[in-house]
Symmetry: C2
Subunit: 415 residues, 2 copies
């Protein structure tokens, strides 16, 4: 008995691309983990009729989640529209207004504000549909669980941190708890490969007759890595095991993760007990930034050098002037010198050296935009490559960090 | 006569949150810039019936754009479903297959592959609906313009770079050109403020009776900055001018951009003719990475130091051991020393020093997680602050770079 859900993300700023939605994907994953089938994420602007038509579109579902539109401003109208759609009147909850006001008052210290304006905002946020379950505010906006003749509608706030915290409270609140309990359980497994082209995985899946299996298999190329995500009910566990065995047999050599770990997490595990430092030019700090994304990275990241100018390459990383003059700043020789420089300047076990042409300018016929020289080294070993990466400036910079992490993995596996 | 459009983003990997969609917002902005009203972005997985219901949902629109599902694998089924929905048969285009094959062959050098598997992929991608206009592949997937009894459906590939390049070709291709020409023109203006709380802008908009104006106004808090985006037809230009004047009168002191420029672009303009360097701890390279996001940044960014360990703070940035011992690594004194160290080590005009506690560990009652000490200095002037930023590790790191850029702006404006 599958439970079907749809997600409505509100906000003209999201619809128009001014900000990128994080809530739809997050809620979708949260629902999937609880065995709920999500069919659609619908993004709508702050227009009453478009929000209403989105609710109509999902009216044959068991559950609809909304995010956003609960703030103090006039364009925040989700609660009103959902209430009207469900046929419930809005009533003022005085005790709720006082709780919201207490939160707003705590924020007073951070921002300049006019008391009257803030009070009006809190009052607006304290109107709730008759009969709805109120989810306590995490920021200033309360959430709602609104029953209708069709789906249960869970109304959640827009700021991702508020939404995520409130979701944890919502799942144990009636009537959402009952709906979620009626869903079965779905397993999800993710295998990650690098490098592996999409047509190759397509051919492999045809060979394994994957279409005929009781599994939902998705392949996707993400930051240059190929990901095979499979969702299935517990009864299909043996079918999944056979699929995974077939994939391992054919592509085990490029399989780098079978437990959901990203390459970043794989690297963090391999780096335990060692130290690393960077010297980067075209990535301008993003490589060090990526290595320090994970909590606990201070155990192995000592630091890094961002050597954007040639002078900095020499002064900070000790790359000889003559080497740059002989080979150019973007050259394998300079990458090698940078990784050695990172090691010696920071007294690290492992050094990363990156120099390349991120574009859009600076390319030449011999070294077009996208050419990046990478060196990952220890005192006794090294992985070195010159790659040509596709895409624009941001793509080249981001993809460089992915390629470098995979080179680092190769080095660490044989160390 | 307004043209209404909807966008359908396909892909189980997008719906499930494995990858984050960039195409919906991008297409939405591209359409808005051409005066088209976008009502919804609908994200669907790779299920035939869900894609079909999304097309039904948008069937009263003038235009529907789809992204994704054009690849060589079996779960790529957008072209088939759209063709069936529009009542057009799929036919093989032999010449198109050869053009696709030529592209695939060029990719051969980058990736290992089996010829047979790749050939099968190219053949699949060369099936097109009868009567559809074919948009030449940018990667390997051709796009399509499919007429139906309802909307015109523009079928575009999933990789953002391919989609964006193909869109430029599509807009001058019949019949899409005709649909776009029938749309009017909408103007968009964006004002950005920092710092300004949302309830305050809400109160101001009520004061200015903004609801009654013939303008579509959206306010949104983005990376800590408040953005007021307004869309209007040319006939409402004077209403907009009055609104903008009212906002300037009340909040001109915190208005930092009125021409669509982000703080990053504002800073890039102000930095012309000067040089800058960074020394950062908790942001781990993200500050330097952000300063070098923009093309041309090599004119003013000399480089930076990522000083994650205390040893690196001393060895690279010249922060005295005794200073760290006396005040702690996260202290205004160390931030000051870091910005001075960045300046002197890289011989830059301006130095940035950042040290803080990004979390989740490392906090204390006096210095909780989110405490960040920032110093931006020249030889003769400085902006210095200790801030407490909300959110998780990634939020604290990202918000730190935003706050720092605004401090940098203040310093540059009086220099």
């Amino acid at each position: 008995m599958s439970v079907r859900a749809g997600i409505i993300v509100t906000g003209t700023e999201v619809l128009s691309g001014i900000i990128r939605d994080a809530n739809g994907p997050w809620l979708s994953e949260a629902l999937r983990a609880r065995g709920v089938v999500v069919t659609h994420i619908v993004v709508v602007g702050d227009r009453v009729e478009d929000l209403r038509s989105a609710l109509d579109f999902l009216s044959d579902h068991d559950l609809v989640l909304t995010s956003g539109g609960l703030g103090p401003t006039a364009d925040d109208l989700t609660a009103d529209v959902v209430a009207e759609w469900a046929g419930a009147e809005m009533v003022h909850d005085a005790a709720l207004e006082e709780r919201i006001w207490a939160v707003v008052n705590r924020l007073r210290r951070r921002m300049p504000f006019e008391e009257e304006a803030m009070r009006a905002g809190a009052r607006k946020q304290a109107f709730v549909p008759v009969g709805a379950a109120v989810l306590e505010p995490v920021g200033t906006a309360p959430g709602l669980l609104v029953s209708s003749s069709g789906p249960l509608v869970a109304v959640l706030p827009g700021p991702p941190r508020e939404l995520q915290t409130m979701w944890e409270a919502a799942v144990s609140t009636s009537p959402l708890r009952e709906v979620l309990e009626s869903a079965g359980t779905l397993e999800q497994r993710i295998l990650r490969f690098f490098p592996l082209p999409e047509p190759q995985i397509a051919a492999t899946l045809r060979e394994l007759d994957a279409d005929a299996l009781p599994l939902e298999i998705t392949t996707c190329l993400r930051r240059g890595e190929l990901e095979v995500a499979t969702v299935f009910p517990p009864s299909s566990a043996s079918a999944y095991a056979a699929l995974e065995a077939g994939l391992r047999e054919r592509h085990g050599d490029v399989l780098f993760s079978d437990d959901g770990a990203t390459i970043d997490v794989v690297i963090a595990r391999l780096l335990q007990g060692r130290t690393i430092a960077t010297a980067e030019s075209c990535t301008g700090g993003l490589m060090a930034g990526r290595l320090t994304d994970l909590a606990g990275s201070s155990a192995y990241v000592l630091g890094g050098l961002v050597v954007y100018s040639n002078e900095a390459k020499t002064a900070l990383a000790g790359v000889p002037d003559a080497l740059i003059a002989a080979h150019g700043a973007v050259s394998p020789e300079v990458a090698t010198a940078l990784s050695a420089g990172a090691r010696s300047r920071l007294e690290a076990d492992i050094g990363i050296g990156i120099t390349g042409i991120a574009g859009p300018g600076g390319g030449s016929p011999e070294k077009p935009v996208g050419t990046v020289c990478i060196s990952v080294s220890t005192a006794t070993d090294a992985e070195e490559r010159v790659v040509r990466l596709p895409g624009g400036r941001a793509d080249v910079r981001d993809r460089t960090t992915t390629v470098t992490l995979h080179m680092l993995r190769a080095l660490l596996l044989r160390a």
